[in-house]
Symmetry: C2
């Protein structure tokens, strides 16, 4: 096509590609270019705005390194990460939610009922629940992995003052599918806002806060792995999560208790529980692979 015009350029892109291009690649690229071009046309994007957008991407590249990926953060802050996550997990099990950048491999095994709180500051929380199928059948041998911030809003790994693997564990459940552990209440924190994503948030009057949450990965033979996070119902950032991670079924109630006799003693929980403590009940529902 010699004469590329506003009306023909999208088709020109398609025509320029080889006929034997991998069909899925071609489909995704075609849709991408269709939307990119439609965006420019509908906004009558100016040269100055185009330049600004490219500078935004250059700045994202400059601030990114092995430790920080500003492109993931752009995807997070525009809702793309959460959307891709939801698209990939439409089923009757527990909703998935973003993995985030703070997961590390090698969390220590902790038995059901174990204690993660140890010497950590912060409110004591006892989390208990079942890993089960949609019809309630316990999933024996499922492994739950948990990671969370300390009371200061930082993860071990980010915060050199915390012991390695602080507030991280892997826990294998038994025939009853039950898990339980003692930990501290996680804290809200800000996504990194000293780069282009921070500029974007400020330009639109958004703040960088995420509601506090516990991250989980649940893995069991024969079931779809679940990557998710759960949020306290009373978190002040619940309805404006900077990365759009909150789902209705991922909200847990932190119920304050003063009676330690309510603890699930059969699971050996409670060796480090002081009153008052928060009790959280939350089941994870997995679907077959």
């Amino acid at each position: 096509m010699k004469d590329v015009s506003i009306d023909t350029i999208t088709q020109a892109f398609v025509d320029y590609c080889a006929k034997d291009t991998d069909p899925r690649t071609m489909f995704v690229l075609t849709k991408m270019v269709e939307h990119l071009h439609a965006f420019a046309k509908e906004t009558k994007l100016t040269h100055k705005e185009w330049t600004r957008g490219l500078q935004f991407l250059m700045d994202a590249g400059k601030i990114s390194d092995n430790e920080r990926n500003e492109f993931v953060l752009i995807s997070d802050a525009t809702g793309l990460s959460s959307l891709v996550d939801m698209i990939g997990s439409q089923h009757e099990g527990t909703s998935s939610s973003v993995l985030g950048p703070f997961h590390i491999l090698g969390a220590p095994d902790v038995p059901v009922g174990g204690d993660l709180k140890k010497d950590n500051d912060g409110a004591t929380v006892v989390v208990e629940g079942k890993i089960r199928t949609p019809d309630g059948t316990p999933i024996e041998g499922a492994v739950l992995e948990l990671w969370q911030t300390a009371d200061n809003g930082l993860y071990s790994g980010q915060d050199k003052s915390q012991p390695e693997y602080n507030l991280r564990c892997a826990m294998k459940v038994g025939a009853d599918g039950r898990y339980a552990l003692t930990t501290v209440r996680p804290a809200p924190y800000k996504i990194p806002d000293d780069g282009p994503v921070g500029d974007l948030l400020r330009a639109t009057g958004r703040d960088a806060w995420r509601p506090s949450h516990l991250h989980f990965i649940i893995v069991a033979d024969g079931y779809r792995s679940l990557v998710t996070e759960v949020f306290p119902s009373d978190d002040i950032y619940l309805d404006r999560d900077a990365v759009f991670g909150v789902r209705e079924d991922l909200i847990m109630e932190y119920i304050e208790q003063t009676d330690t006799s309510l603890l699930p003693r059969d699971l050996e929980v409670g060796t480090n529980v002081t009153v008052p403590y928060f009790k959280v009940d939350f089941d994870f529902v997995l679907v077959p692979e």
Copy 2:
């Protein structure tokens, strides 16, 4: 909005932004996110594809520096640069086309009829024409800036073996609006294909070639500045320009001549013309600002 879902996430993005956000910023960002989300939904973008896309951007960031901007190249190779260019120049004047990365400031003044060929290898070309309004009135005092590749497909600035400002000039026209110069025929060249854009081109069976072209900027008081490029009608890459720059009215005919008496001697062209030479006639039409 607590419960973000596939159906509500686009509106959640809008709702999270402050009501007093600059209206144009809000409009452009809303359209961007609408299209980004629609793209993900229509393709049912997988987590693996999303990761691949983010890696593509990270790789673009890594290969970019002060000399190379892979994000501009992504924009070029997807047609976005050309589209923005066309959106911004819908008028009855000569079409604009991409500026490209090879323009440098400070090109030497050359009088009308001047010689750029000097000791350059390659076919001799005499380019002649008028800078005028749509109704044909000459635009006195207009300044034409030209830059182009040498016969090896490289621009001075890229190619240390060429003299500084080789095949670059600024030329101010007189009351008749006429410009003329002797130069060499430019050569096709490839856009940089050793980075992520190269991967994209290879994945879709596209090549990285651009048809040969002469770059021009035309500036005149009271008129819209014109940034454009003109292409020979017989270039083999004319209908598959890697950056979608070709417009019907930007195609020039290279006509082979053996008779130097046809040269515009009144403009002092021809001091360096050998036969055969190519003659090109091309007018630039500017519109009032």
